[in-house]
Amino acid sequence: MKNLEMKKEFKVIADLLPNNTKVLDVGCGDGSLMYLLKKEKNVEVRGLELNQGNVQECIHKGLPVIQGNAETELHQFPDKSFDYVVLSQTLQAFYEPEKVLKNLLRIGKSVVISIPNFGYWKVRTKLLFFGKMPVTKTLPNTWYNTPNLHMCTIKDLFDFCDEKNINIKTAVGVNENKTSIIMKSNLEIKNLFYKIGIFLIG
């Protein structure tokens, strides 16, 4: 199920990006998204990835990847050196997400961020009715071993951009089989019913 969601998420991200652009995928994993972007949109891709096994996987696929930590090593990329920088479901795992986000906006002309939505109704009910930290398909870890240090909701990220004067070009809610445009007018309802939020900002 997680896989299906991921495929859907990557599809939405790919749809957001124009053809023939230059894209940096921060936390590119095994290169699935880079591969998709290259194949379908003729995008010039680069990846940044921490895990050595994943780095090897990308190299085997012929995808350019730099082994490194996005928290500390984004400084190596010059200002506006990419058309788009993509950060898929890792913003919440950084020690300083705000700092990382600022760096992404510096490197890319635009930035695509996706987040697991802590405002999704199943997550809310788990905490409300069982009084326990939610464990769902999108958030499979327990409180003591989760890499997620700064969980947020679609609404939180929306408000954050507002507060910091970051322009939201598009926001999309994503489930396995459904996507929907998020606007200020429908924010409350989308925040309740979508597992993943994807934001095109900058």
Binding site: Q56, H60, P64, V65, G68, Q76
Partner: protein, 389 residues
């Protein structure tokens, strides 16, 4: 050939029978002197494909030579990169055509301080011009011409081989489709220079060295050269690797001998490495080659620094470093990645986690070899597709 009857006599005889290219084109060296009609010794492995799209150029390190794999016909020992190059290996010679040339300044058949100076009809010794990494690289251009290779599938090299490769890519931005600089640096640090100076001083302190004139007497400053090699060996291992390999283990004895013999295994190892080296390498060559490494500073050749050095790169790079390498550190290697990134080049980077230090690239380090193979094979596919179009 010199009429030498001693230590190197047999070696010189053998060196007559290896592949050599007579480079007729004059080469103006960085020091201002010009060399011409000089020998460049090389070796190839595998078969060049009809389309000439499977050639891989390997640059060797300080004490390496052109005999990358198989058996070195001069020393009768295994080639220095037998772990990575050969049939079925990461750089598969069943599939790829591997080329390696002995650097000028070396002592395995290419022009070096042991060759005869045409002006004096005697071995050069210290009359040999001081050479640079750039000179070494430019001398090898003729070899590619000779072999009819316009564009290499890949060029690679570790340590000083990596430095030559960075220079090669900068000087010839479209001669290699891909490049893998391994465990190297774009310039020598103070510590790098200091260690090389230690090696040189060890040689020069040996009275046999005699200002490099030992070549006229066909002797070798064995003691100094062995110490120089020992210095090198310490820098190629990590502290942890050394501790794990030797610790305080004693060499074939139950207790201390209360003498200055090699009580400890680590001492015995260094002595063995040192004295094995003098059998195959020329002391003056160590001076010349370490000097070339010390002078290397790629950014110095360009006003805009290292970023400018990689401007208009078409080559696809993979930089590899080793976590426990303190000679050419992960930071040294990352600085190259940063410069390549800033110049907009296509660059990948991987840090291999290992305790084996700088030497890792010569050892059977599975993660390293897997990465190497994955990159080269994927580049081969891309290169062939590009050629087809």
């Amino acid at each position: 050939m010199p009429s030498l009857a001693g230590l190197f006599f047999w070696m010189n005889i053998k060196l007559e029978n290896i592949k050599k290219l007579d480079v007729t084109k004059p080469l103006k060296l960085d020091c201002g002197k010009t060399i011409k009609d000089f020998p460049l010794a090389y070796e190839t492995y595998g078969k060049l494909s009809e389309n000439k799209d499977n050639a891989i150029l390997v640059f060797h390190a300080l004490t390496g030579d052109q005999f990358v794999t198989g058996t070195n016909p001069i020393t009768n020992k295994e080639g220095w990169w037998v772990t990575a190059v050969g049939p079925g290996k990461a750089i598969d010679t069943n599939k790829y055509f591997v080329i390696c040339a002995n650097v000028i300044g070396g002592c395995m058949g290419s022009l070096g301080p042991r060759n005869i100076n045409p002006d004096t009809k005697k071995p050069y010794g210290l009359d040999f011009p001081v050479i640079t990494i750039k000179d070494m690289v430019r001398a090898q251009e003729s070899l590619l011409e000779h072999l009819g290779i316009k564009k290499l599938l890949c060029a690679t090299g570790g340590s000083m081989g990596g430095m030559q490769l960075l220079q090669f890519c900068s000087t010839f931005p479209d001669k290699a489709f891909s490049a893998i600089p391994i465990a190297c640096s774009s310039s020598h640090s103070a510590q790098n220079i200091a260690l090389n100076e230690l090696a040189r001083q060890a040689i020069m302190a040996d009275p046999v060295w005699d200002n490099g004139k030992y070549v006229l007497k066909d002797v070798q400053p064995k003691n100094g050269l062995a110490v120089a090699r020992m210095v090198g060996h310490i820098s190629y291992l990590s502290e942890k690797g050394m501790q794990e390999k030797f610790g305080r283990k004693l060499q074939e004895r139950a207790d201390y001998e209360f003498s200055f013999n090699a009580d400890f295994q680590v001492e015995s190892y260094l002595r063995h490495q040192g004295y094995a080296f003098v059998e195959r390498f020329d002391a003056n060559s160590v001076l010349y080659i370490t000097r070339a490494m010390d002078y290397f500073d790629l950014s110095k050749q360009f006003k805009g620094g290292l970023v400018e050095a990689f401007k208009n790169q078409k080559t696809k790079f993979l930089i590899i470093s080793f976590s426990s390498d303190w000679l050419y550190t992960t930071k040294d290697n990352k600085d190259i990645v940063i410069a390549l990134n800033a110049s907009g080049a296509d660059v990948s980077y991987s840090e291999i986690i290992t305790d084996k230090g700088h030497d890792s690239f010569l050892l059977n380090e599975p993660q390293f070899l897997k990465t190497l193979k994955g990159f080269i094979d994927s580049m081969y596919e891309k290169f062939r597709n590009e050629k087809r179009i």
